[in-house]
């Protein structure tokens, strides 16, 4: 690769949107490189769809510019932008059949012989048989594929997807996620995907931007976001985190030693996003699946150098591959622990005294000035 094609780059510079006194999107800078699968993740009303609509040209930004490659498209109407959108609930034309829906963009650009292209595209999304049906005769999943085909056939530089899987049931959604990922790899177009489903964002995207209240909280690869959340919102919104308030005791080598409930916890300095001064507070975070549970009677067998907390099991639910425990501890009322069902210890039942322990390397530190529950409720709302 001697020449890098950047015509599919999307660059947002200081782009923001206000409606009267309400700020939907705070000015933000974002670069999505050509050919990547980028997800904007956030709860409803966080500004992710507004951001997408500003890229599509359906919404005029209040400030900032939108560049596609080297072209400034900020003030171009949608029909002049080389981007296409897969709309939430698809917005298929009800009076046109599937073939004409897919051919719509080609015909508008004055292309006469559309038959071959449309048939190929319908083949790609496995709808060759349905060409002469009307949209309302198709199932939700099929309509969704028509919407993707209708957008992709124009070979846009960027494909925008606005919660395209929101109306599908869970099983179909999982299937379509893999399908979309396959299509993206096949056509190599930049995809920008808006979703509130963190699992969807993590399985599909190369890069995820987590948005909250009109701002990008954190941007990175799914692994990076999951392992190194920088804010409590990200820690709670992406998966589940145990957050424990602790006081900074000393710093030694590359580690920070903290005091929590009489115990001692070690946190690698590199994994702490908060300024840690002796005597100050930080939030110690640990993912539930990183914690091991040992019955209090066997506490002596736990290797040295691991972070440990004592507690009592209050609830245990068996969910097949793992068992999810809720543990009450002096430092935190409810600690979640997920244990793989490899060798189950029969003594780990509600009421049992246990020691929770984990490798310090899995610990992360967050600024204690934040709301410890940020992002928690929203996840529950979406799940309901």
């Amino acid at each position: 690769m001697t020449t890098t094609d950047n015509s599919g780059d999307v660059r947002l510079s200081g782009i923001g949107k206000t409606y009267g006194s309400f700020t939907a999107v705070h000015p933000l800078d974002l670069t999505v490189p050509q050919g990547s699968f980028f997800a904007l993740l956030g709860a409803s009303g966080c500004g992710k769809t507004t951001t997408l609509r500003m890229i599509a040209g359906l919404e005029e930004p209040s400030s900032g510019t939108v560049h596609l490659g080297d072209q400034d498209v900020t003030h171009l109407p949608p029909y002049k932008r080389p981007v296409n959108t897969v709309f939430q609930s698809y917005a298929l034309f009800p009076h046109l059949d599937i073939f004409e829906n897919v051919a719509f963009g080609l015909r508008r650009r004055g292309i006469k012989s559309v038959k071959k292209q449309v048939e190929d595209m319908l083949e790609l999304v496995q709808l060759g048989e349905q060409a002469r049906k009307k949209p309302h005769q198709l199932s939700g999943g099929q309509q969704q594929r028509v919407a993707v085909a209708r957008a992709l056939i124009n070979h846009p530089k960027v494909l925008l997807l606005d919660e395209p899987l929101g109306a599908l049931d869970l099983k179909l959604r999982r299937q379509m996620q893999l399908e979309l990922k396959r299509i993206q790899t096949e056509v190599g177009i930049t995809f920008i995907h808006v979703t509130h489903d963190q699992e969807e964002a993590m399985t599909m995207a190369d890069t995820v931007a987590v948005m909250n209240a009109g701002r990008v909280e954190q941007l990175g690869s799914p692994t990076d976001l999951y392992e190194n959340p920088q804010t409590t919102f990200v820690a709670n919104f992406l998966g589940t985190s145990n957050l424990i308030e602790a006081e900074v005791d000393t710093r030694s080598g590359g580690d920070i030693v903290l005091k929590a409930g009489g115990g001692k916890l070690v946190l690698p300095e590199a994994r702490c996003s908060a300024p840690a001064t002796a005597g100050g507070k930080v939030l110690v975070g640990i993912r539930p699946e990183k914690i091991s549970l040992t019955h209090a009677d066997d506490a002596g067998a736990i290797p040295e150098g691991r972070n440990r907390l004592t507690g009592r099991i209050v609830d245990a639910s068996f969910i097949g591959v793992s068992t999810q425990y809720v543990v009450e501890s002096p430092v935190c009322d409810e600690l979640a622990v997920y244990v793989q069902n490899v060798e189950r210890d029969g003594r780990l039942v509600p009421g049992a005294d246990v020691v929770l322990h984990w490798s310090p390397a899995h610990t992360f530190g967050l600024d204690a000035a934040q709301d410890i529950d940020a992002g928690v409720e929203t996840v529950e709302e979406e799940a309901a």
Partner: protein, 309 residues
């Protein structure tokens, strides 16, 4: 075994308690239909039968009319009054087209652009109904008066020369010409065009416009390829609601027209109320009804709106 023999009693005792409401429920739809059906029978079906029998009667006012199955009345009526039939269809069609041209942009504006003015504009559309049909039509007599400002302006701009050449007006007046009748019809039936148009435009999902724009359609193309086809149900019902009553209308011709602009409605009215030739009047009514039914059927078939969601 013992459980089997014990189980039935509650079932038996439950049955009689369940039955009465089901029996009553079965007849509810018919009771609900009854008032409407009675109304239709008394005020529609019976008069129709009575009129049908009138149309095949012969006789005179003095000697009384008798059913003689004289179908020739139909032929006589048609051969004598076909120009009025054609004129009615032509006037009604012209008024319908004018209503569509005037009403569509307004309905579009109310549906998509009016914002908080929407309700006010809707009230303005319906407002004429608060005054009598007759008074509104008489007002047009004043508007189009020979020495009024409208005719004066049209004369100054030499527009009347053009319309006179086309046969729509006569000399330098508008009143008592086809143009005046068509104007009156258009004015009186405009709300019947706007309301169904508005209803079907308002139902169009705004995201379809966005989707069309996103797929490279300019605003005008979006209108032609998406908005207009989707508003076809409104266009069809609006044109029907305008065309059908306009064809049979006689008030506009009576008040704004002259003997040269008589429509079939005027003929029927005269036959019934002045000449008192009931068989001819009844036959004309049936011919008009059949003609409208035939035209409407062809129109609905051709427009293919049953295919739209």
């Amino acid at each position: 075994m013992s459980t089997l023999t014990e189980a039935p009693p509650p079932l038996v005792s439950a049955e009689p308690a369940k039955k009465p409401p089901r029996k009553r429920g079965r007849f509810t739809p018919y009771w609900l239909l009854l008032p409407g059906i009675l109304w239709l029978v008394v005020f529609f079906a019976l008069p129709m039968i009575y009129q049908a029998s009138t149309s095949v009667q012969t006789g005179s006012l003095e000697e009384g009319y008798k059913v003689t199955w004289h179908f020739a009345t139909y032929w006589d009526a048609l051969s004598e009054y076909w120009p009025q039939f054609l004129r009615s269809v032509f006037y009604a069609a012209s008024a319908t087209v004018l209503c569509l041209l005037l009403g569509y942009p307004l309905a579009y504006l109310i549906a998509f652009r009016a914002g908080r003015w929407r309700n006010l504009i809707m009230i303005l559309v319906i407002a004429p109904f608060f005054t009598s049909f007759l008074i509104r039509t008489l007002a047009w007599k004043t508007i189009l008066a020979d020495n009024g400002p409208v005719v004066h302006t049209l004369n100054t701009l030499h527009i009347l020369d053009l319309t006179s050449a086309l046969g729509w007006t006569a000399g330098d007046r508008v009143l008592a010409t086809p143009l005046a009748v068509v104007c009156g019809l258009t004015y009186n039936f405009l709300p019947f065009m706007i309301l169904p148009l508005y209803t079907s435009l308002e139902r169009i999902d705004g995201r379809l416009h966005e989707a069309a724009g996103d797929l490279y359609a300019r605003p005008w193309t979006t209108f032609r390829k998406v908005t207009f086809p989707l508003s076809m149900p409104g266009v069809v019902s609006g044109t029907l609601l305008t065309f059908i009553p306009a064809t049979g209308d006689y008030v506009n011709s009576e008040l704004l027209g002259s003997t040269d602009t008589r429509m079939i409605g005027n003929v029927i009215q005269t036959q019934f109320l002045r000449i008192l030739d009931y068989p001819t009047a009844a036959a004309l009514s049936f011919i008009l009804m059949a003609a409208i039914l035939a035209m409407v059927t062809i129109y609905i078939r051709r427009s293919g709106t049953e295919d739209l969601v």
